[in-house]
């Protein structure tokens, strides 16, 4: 693997305890793991004992763009964060959480393929990376400030072209719901990495990069990017996020307050909407940001106040640095608990006024500042459910596994149930492209999905069988899921956006066929390493096995590859996931992966085949080889 182009060749490491920084070569990771989560997970394997907690100073917080980040490749504005997650439930585990925007490309222009943060500063600091200089600046003035004020203040101090990510009061107070926020609403939220940043007393990271990024074959990059762009033309995602045509209210809300569409670096889709709601504020917004609408509509009906309440919901969450996805389900969870009499309304969180502006404002504020019952909720719904009487009776449907809020339907969709069970967090965040394939719902009308005939044809081509998208059976699901996971790993190590790639289907084409080889061709154009599609999938498989090895070292067993038990029963008319079929499919999946059937541990044979002999040796030493 040549690392001269696409990569910058250097990884920046900042030790906050010693207030020192140094640079390490990328090459030793890039050879086998390319970038993104590949680099991040390898660093964890090498450096982290499994008993280190998410909020311990020894925990690493790794910001990892990939070789395609910051190039012309459509959707190359993202980077991945890898760390031990405070959100994971029941145990903290190493996982990933991506983020879009402009910060990742800027880090590459500053000359770094990744940033590793470790240690804990004695006082609050801001890391200021300006090309070859790195400074630990005093962040005293920003402690307690929200994310918008922090960024605006730092922008004035360091220049308007500086790209900043930071935490708000929620991260400072080590809430497990804390997100890392950049600009108005780019966020790494689902894994609670804001608390990891808070535990390191790191308020913000500002980057300004002025260097060039060398590209192996600019002409070819332009050509392939143009093709990718043509195929992702009419990408339904822009509509999906801000209009969701099936939800009439949501479409009206976004259309009424939309100033413009906006989004990440180098992306033709631009799936955010910049909204200006008078009386509430301005912010870019995305699909989950609309979480408060049904409660607010119940409270206010169709009125301006309803819209302001919805806007409070996402603007305040962004400002306090909280993950909005959790609130999609937390508000319902609290309402059910309150109505059942298991928790009481209190001054800090007026549960008798769910749906009002006052409720959402106080809920977000008191979770961020850990006041009243907000202190418990700041631990995340899963951990709160443990402490509340009968909590899991209400939480189970909303939090199927790993402490992540539900995403994608598991009942009636075997492949999604399997995906969830086998990951370390909500897996669906890497699989948005499958929405377009209709893997979630073949009955949905256009423009979200294609016709069933086309979907079957594409499934034959992509997965090798149309049974892959037959939701009535677990048959052929292990194959489909293994493929999907490998492709997700590829996306997360290059790093490009899963809303665009893999391009299975294209609305711009008559027969709807996309081009799944685009990722490898983009990699070849940018870096000069001509990997075939199959070879790149192999790297994805390697990274997935490395992720599994980390899980196993943390104590993951076959029993834990599951959903909350309530999913195996019917509930409110929701179809049960068939436990026997589910377990059989899991066995099939382990066989396919070459892992031990009883334990789910990787075996030496497969690890050797994947050039992971060193990982196999380490596992053997600890007696964890399958």
């Amino acid at each position: 693997m040549k690392t001269e182009y696409g990569w910058t060749g250097r990884i920046l490491r900042a030790d906050l305890t010693a207030r020192r920084w140094w640079v390490e070569p990328t090459e030793r990771y890039a050879q086998r793991f390319i970038g993104g989560i590949g680099i991040g997970l390898k660093i964890f394997w090498d450096e982290m004992r499994p008993d280190i907690g998410a909020l311990d100073p020894e925990n690493r917080l790794i910001f990892a763009p990939g070789p395609l980040t910051g190039t012309l490749a459509p959707g190359s504005g993202r980077f991945e964060l890898i760390s031990k997650s405070p959100r994971s439930y029941p145990k903290e585990t190493v996982t990933r959480s991506g983020m879009g925007g402009f910060w990742g490309p800027e880090l590459k222009y500053a000359g770094y393929d990744a940033l590793i943060v470790q240690g804990r500063a004695d006082t609050w600091v801001t890391l200021w990376i300006h090309d070859d200089t790195v400074e630990f600046r005093n962040a005293r003035n920003y402690v307690g400030e929200d994310t918008y004020a922090t960024q605006i203040g730092l922008g004035k101090e360091l220049g308007s072209r500086t790209r900043i990510l930071c935490i708000g009061p929620a991260g400072e107070n080590l809430s497990r719901l804390a997100a890392i926020i950049s600009e108005t609403s780019f966020a790494s939220g689902r894994s609670g990495f804001g608390a990891v940043m808070g535990s390191k007393r790191l308020k913000a990271i500002a980057v300004r990069g002025t260097g060039p990024l060398k590209v192996f074959d600019p002409g070819r990059l332009v050509e392939i990017s143009r093709r990718a762009r043509e195929l992702s033309e009419m990408n339904p995602m822009r509509e999906w996020t801000t209009r969701a045509l099936s939800l009439r209210d949501q479409k009206d809300f976004f259309d009424k307050y939309r100033r413009k569409n906006t989004g990440c670096f180098s992306c033709p889709v631009q799936c955010f909407a910049f909204l200006d709601v008078p009386g509430a504020g301005r912010s870019a917004a995305h699909c989950t940001n609309y979480y408060y609408h049904s409660q607010a509509t119940q409270y206010y009906g169709q009125s301006v106040e309803r819209d302001q309440a919805v806007a409070d919901g996402y603007i305040l969450a962004n400002r306090y640095g909280l993950d909005t996805f959790e609130f999609c389900y937390m508000v319902d969870f609290l309402r059910e608990l309150y109505e059942a009499g298991h928790i009481k309304a209190q001054k800090e969180i007026p549960l008798d006024k769910i749906g009002s502006r006052e409720f959402i404002q106080k809920l977000l504020e008191n979770i961020a500042l850990r006041r009243g019952i907000g202190d418990l909720l700041a631990e995340g719904c899963a951990r709160a459910a443990d402490k509340i009487r009968d909590g899991w009776k209400f939480a189970a449907e909303y939090f199927p596994a790993h402490g992540s809020a539900t995403h994608g339907k598991m009942r009636g969709y075997p492949e999604i149930a399997l995906m969830w069970a086998l990951d370390s967090r909500d897996p669906f965040i890497d699989h948005h492209a499958y929405l377009k394939l209709g893997i979630t719902d073949l009955t949905r009308p256009k423009p979200y999905t294609l016709s069933p005939e086309h979907a079957r044809a594409v499934a034959r081509k992509v997965f090798g069988s149309e049974r892959a998208i037959d939701h009535s059976t677990f048959e052929y699901k292990p194959e489909a899921i293994a493929y999907a996971q490998n492709r997700a790993a590829v996306i997360n190590l290059l790093v490009i956006c899963d809303w665009i790639y893999p391009i299975f289907t294209s609305q711009a084409k008559k027969d709807w066929t996309g081009d799944t080889a685009l990722e490898s061709r983009l990699l070849a154009a940018v870096t000069g390493n001509a990997l075939s599609e199959a070879e790149l999938n192999r790297v994805g498989e390697r990274v997935w096995n490395l992720a599994r090895a980390i899980m196993v070292r943390e104590g993951r067993t076959r029993d834990q590859d599951t959903l909350h038990e309530s999913y195996f029963r019917t509930n409110n008319g929701g179809e049960a996931v068939c436990l026997q079929d589910f377990e059989e499919a899991k066995t099939g999946y382990y066989q396919l992966r070459g892992w031990a059937e009883e334990t789910g541990r990787p075996t030496r044979d497969r690890l050797d085949q994947l050039e992971l002999a060193d990982i196999a040796n380490d596992l053997e030493r600890e007696g964890l080889l399958g």
């Binding site: 072209r161 990024l213 600019p218 990059l221 992306c267 301005r282």
Partner: protein
């Protein structure tokens, strides 16, 4: 565009006289001012701030992703949802052209583009001072100037803008977008 239409005759006259053959230093203000020209127009109201224009510009002109050396740049203000693409207007009065003491800036005949001849440029930066939009950038090492050359009439940034926030406006001829 009306004022330019009124001057159509004057433009035609200069074109007929073969303005493009005359050396730069001999050209007169009116001759430059009334020239037929194209320029990139930008609409901040719909610009999403994605920076694709900067990326394609630098790939074409520098052969790398090098946003500090692109000829167009987007000034971001995410908190106001305001992204302003800063483009060279190929100004009718071309202040940079008249500021250059070395005749290193030329006006191209067919497009009316204001071009910098990097060989003649001595790096005095007077053009940068004269530019009302601050779109002329300078090489770090040599301090030589470079700016938008309209990509021979078919600007990459306009072709790639996903929001259609960029367009081409022609003066002294049919306006098009």
């Amino acid at each position: 565009m009306e004022c330019f239409a009124m001057e159509r005759e004057a433009v035609d006259k200069f074109l007929e006289e073969g303005a493009r053959e005359r050396p730069a230093e001999e050209r007169e203000f009116s001759e430059v001012y009334y020239r037929r020209r194209k320029s990139i127009s930008a609409e901040p109201k719909i610009c999403a701030g994605c920076r694709i224009c900067e990326v394609v510009c630098s790939l074409r002109h520098e052969g790398a992703v090098d946003l500090e050396r692109s000829r167009i740049f987007v000034k971001p203000n995410p908190f106001k949802g305001l992204f302003v693409p800063i483009v060279c207007h190929q100004c009718p009065d071309a202040p940079c052209y008249f500021a250059c003491p070395e005749s290193a800036i030329e006006i191209e005949g067919t497009l009316g583009a204001v071009l910098i001849n990097e060989e003649k440029c001595t790096g005095c930066r007077l053009c940068g001072e004269a530019c009302p939009f601050n779109v002329i950038r300078f090489r770090e090492e040599t301090s030589k100037a470079f700016k938008c050359d309209l990509c021979q009439g078919d600007p990459e940034c306009v072709k790639w803008c996903p929001m259609n926030a960029l367009g081409i406006t022609e003066f002294g001829g049919e306006a098009s977008k």
